[in-house]
């Protein structure tokens, strides 16, 4: 499998390439951001590892440009900065994972294996429209009839999950597993807490899309029939 490594620090790229080579991956190293992006766009890679601080084009811009061109290759960001803003920027730019320097190469290869297992992103729609509710997966934002719906990161992910599976009833355990990575014994009411938060926010903007309860089973996203539920007016 061929991996693209865009990193301008020769010591790091040399060591990472050697280590990935031991794991039987073929590695192309590129030092420059612009040229790295060209390679990513023109050749076919199973994965790209992208440093943030690069000459001519930074790692975030490379990820964003690749995603804009419809490249589904898993992208792993390497960064020397560990702030909330940086992480959000990376994920918003379309990166699948990020690793903070200094990292252990064992950790890097574990992440690489995990991303390769997951494979290319399936070409998901980037926009969903359900009744008056609209979601933009590109910018991770939501709106109701043009008015912005303020959501936390988890609320957005949950609403997008509902939107992707619209009309289908999702069980609490399905939701827990998908959104909260819950693979333990027992259960949690966190799903109900979030559903109630989302319902409140959707109702506040008079959304026609709402989360319905399927008693004893779970929840689903539906469009309200026109004359239903305007009691609070």
């Amino acid at each position: 499998m061929r991996i693209l490594l865009i990193e301008d620090d020769d010591d790091i790229s040399g060591a990472v390439a050697a280590m990935l080579g031991r794991e039987r991956y073929a590695v192309d190293v590129e030092r420059d951001g612009e040229r790295g992006l060209d390679r990513l766009l023109t050749a076919s890679y199973a994965l790209a590892i992208v440093d943030v601080g690069l000459p001519s084009r930074d790692g975030f811009a490379i990820c964003r440009a690749a995603r804009d061109e419809g490249i589904g290759t898993p992208l792993l960001i390497l960064t020397a900065q560990d702030s909330v803003e940086q992480r959000i920027r990376g994920l918003d730019a379309g990166a699948d994972d990020y690793l903070i320097k200094p990292f252990s190469i064992g950790e890097l290869t574990a992440r690489v294996r995990a991303l390769l297992r997951r494979g290319e992103r399936p070409p998901l729609p980037t926009r969903y429209a359900i009744g008056s509710l609209e979601l933009d997966a590109g910018t991770r934002s939501a709106s109701v009839a043009g008015r912005a719906l303020e959501l936390s990161a988890t609320e957005y992910r949950l609403l997008e999950f509902f939107a992707r599976e619209r009309g289908r009833t999702l069980s609490r355990s399905q939701i827990l597993e998908k959104i909260w990575d819950f693979d333990f014994q027992g259960s949690s009411n966190i799903v109900d807490v979030y559903v109630s938060q989302l319902r409140r926010k959707l109702a506040a903007l008079d959304s026609t899309a709402t989360i319905a309860t399927a008693w004893g089973v779970g929840y689903k996203l539906v469009v309200k029939p026109p004359k239903a539920a305007r009691s609070s007016g």
């Binding site: 040399g14 959000i88 200094p102 990292f103 609320e155 819950f182 009411n189 966190i190």
Partner: protein
């Protein structure tokens, strides 16, 4: 989501700007009001002394009052215009007073980020090269390379910890969401248990819905768990219960416990016991994270640490469709 953080920071700055504007305006308003009262009294007294004889009749007094009314109206109008102008000036003053502070904070942030970047990149190179060399080398060089890699990674953690504490007072340092602390604890335990040679971790966890920054809470739990695992003889116990509107998380190990001489400075920066391998920042970070969430962390004797965090207050029930 970045916009949200940005917005929160701007709101905090906006509030500071408003507060400062209000205090400038209050000072100006008091000065204007005092001057106005003095002016009115002076005018009224001057008039009174001029027309003193006329004031002896009721008509005269009514005429005097009527003559003063336009004076009062003029002063009030002037005051209103002045206050408007002064309001604008106060805002401008407040903004120019705050802007060097904002620039200083931005400079500091940039410096911290730059310093971290400049340290982490070479540390990354050292760690990667040493790990790579370790695989090719024979003993004793092999274990030397392994130590170099480990120390470089520890140094990287230290840079991260320092950065965390230096940013602790910033608005937007926390990204809070509703979460089930039990799930967060389970994730940390799962990751810790996956490490080779890990000890047994007994967990007894009840659901505890809190509002918090998941990444920070993970860091808090991981620090406590790492401490416990480092000092345990064979077992670590983690319990999470709810009690009186609080989530109570306890982490305890069956090791020798915290030495008495370490207890007074347990949560201070760089205060570490002689048998501690960490940076000495772990518990200081735990204390910051707990208090930033409106909770606290206490040493409960032996080897037991207890974190108390307020449970999320449930919002009004959502209408069921």
């Amino acid at each position: 989501m970045g916009r949200r953080l940005q917005a929160r920071r701007e709101t905090a700055e906006g509030r500071a700007l408003l507060r400062l504007t209000a205090s400038y305006l209050a000072v100006f308003a008091i000065v204007i009001a005092t001057l106005s009262v003095l002016a009115y009294t002076f005018v009224a007294n001057t008039y009174r002394s001029i027309v003193a004889p006329a004031l002896e009749t009721p008509e005269g007094r009514a005429g005097f009052a009527a003559a003063l009314r336009p004076v009062l109206a003029a002063i009030v109008t002037a005051d209103a215009l002045l206050l408007l102008a002064v309001g604008g000036a106060s805002f401008a003053l407040a903004r120019s007073a705050l802007s060097p502070l904002r620039r200083a904070r931005e400079r500091e942030e940039r410096f911290a980020a730059d310093a971290a970047h400049e340290l982490r990149t070479p540390l990354g190179a050292i760690a990667s090269m040493a790990e790579n060399a370790e695989l090719d080398a024979a003993e004793p060089a092999r274990s030397v390379f392994a130590s170099i890699a480990r120390r470089a990674l520890e140094c990287g953690d230290l840079v991260g910890d320092l950065l965390t504490l230096s940013r602790a007072s910033e608005p937007g340092a926390l990204q809070a969401e509703t979460l089930d602390l039990a799930i967060v604890v389970r994730h940390v335990i799962r990751d810790a248990a996956a490490a080779p040679g890990s000890l047994a971790i007994d967990a007894s966890l009840s659901e505890a819905i809190v509002t918090g920054d998941e990444r920070r809470l993970r860091q808090l739990i991981r620090n406590l768990l790492d401490n416990a695992l480092a000092h345990a003889a064979s077992r670590v116990a983690v319990t999470l219960q709810t009690n009186n509107g609080d989530a109570c998380l306890s982490v305890e190990d069956d090791g020798p416990g915290v030495p008495a001489d370490a207890i007074p400075r347990l949560f201070e920066r760089f205060a570490k016991g002689s048998n501690s391998r960490g940076s000495g920042l772990g518990l200081a970070i735990c204390r910051w994270i707990a208090s930033a969430h409106g909770g606290e962390i206490v040493f409960a004797g032996g080897s037991r640490f207890t974190v108390r965090l307020p449970l999320a207050t449930p919002g009004p029930a959502a209408p069921l469709s």
